[in-house]
């Protein structure tokens, strides 16, 4: 059942990304272009998502376990450190350069776009670099 749950969550996520317009890099760039010709639509994606998920995260605090797993994996990191700051800034620059963040990049695999494959492979190379760095550290 937990397998089915993973597939359904991913599918609903992918439907939401596509319907919202997040999967189109041009729309993302227009959303980030607040000083010129601005398309504010994608702000409503975050508002909609948080409106649904916030109450359920709040309710889950009083629950012992999820439906199909043994424990809730609550994030444990609380500290606002230099890694969080540096990493988020780097991510933001990369996002602004092309208009793809990880979710829409993955969703765009279905569109078989060669530039998007180049982006995804580079993103995976980025993941690998940090894994390798952490291994030798």
């Amino acid at each position: 059942m937990n397998r089915f749950c993973s597939l359904v969550s991913g599918l609903v996520f992918g439907l939401g990304l596509t319907l919202s317009g997040m999967t189109n890099p041009e729309k993302v760039i227009n959303f980030l272009n607040i000083f010129r010709a601005w398309d504010p639509s994608l702000a409503f994606v975050m508002i909609g998502a948080i409106l649904i998920s916030a109450p359920f995260f709040y309710l889950a605090k009083n629950k012992n376990k999820p439906l199909f797993a043994e424990t809730f994996s609550w994030p444990t990191l609380k500290e606002i450190d230099s890694k969080l700051i540096l990493g988020s800034l780097m991510f933001g620059i990369g996002w602004g350069l092309i208009g793809l963040c990880p979710g829409p990049a993955i969703a765009s695999i279905s569109l078989l776009s060669q530039p998007s494959f180049t982006f995804i492979l580079s993103m995976l190379a980025g993941f690998s670099l940090i894994r390798a760095y952490n291994l030798i550290k």
Binding site: C5, V8, S20, V45, P66, A69, F91, P115
Partner: protein
């Protein structure tokens, strides 16, 4: 500043679906639907590998289903400069790995949990992205 291509309703409805996906994944499997983390772990970690794979497959199926039912191609306009694509991909990969999340993990899940760490991350990556688009438009 002028407003263009404004689609608040479909974007809001898409947002509601993303929120629903986050809720299903957390109440069902107890996990945070952060896409950078799930993709990263799918590559490098044996833990929950099949779940991560199914989640990713689900995301890929999303646009296919919408295209199938609406009969219109999904709009996708992207820059084609190799240098830009590789730099952006590397920055997104390294940045989300160091910062522990992206638009979904920090921006949606973190803010929904009222995590100050995720709020800081979201303000920083939004700010950096807005400035990047501003500066790129100048050159």
């Amino acid at each position: 500043m002028t407003i263009i291509n404004f689609t608040p309703i479909s974007s809001f409805l898409g947002g509601l679906l993303i929120g629903l996906a986050v809720v299903i994944f957390f109440l069902g499997n107890g996990r945070i639907a952060g896409i950078s983390g799930i993709t990263n772990n799918l590559l490098f970690s044996k833990t929950n590998r099949l779940d991560n794979l199914l989640f990713i497959l689900g995301i890929i199926l999303g646009p296919i289903l919408i295209q199938f039912f609406t009969g219109t191609p999904i709009p996708f306009v992207i820059e084609t400069s190799l240098v830009m694509l590789v730099s952006a991909g590397l920055l997104v990969g390294v940045g989300t790995a160091i910062g522990g999340g992206c638009t979904s993990g920090h921006g949606v899940c973190g803010i929904s949990r009222f995590s100050s760490r995720s709020l800081v991350a979201t303000l920083l990556f939004m700010g950096a992205a807005i400035l990047t688009v501003l500066f790129k438009g100048m050159i």
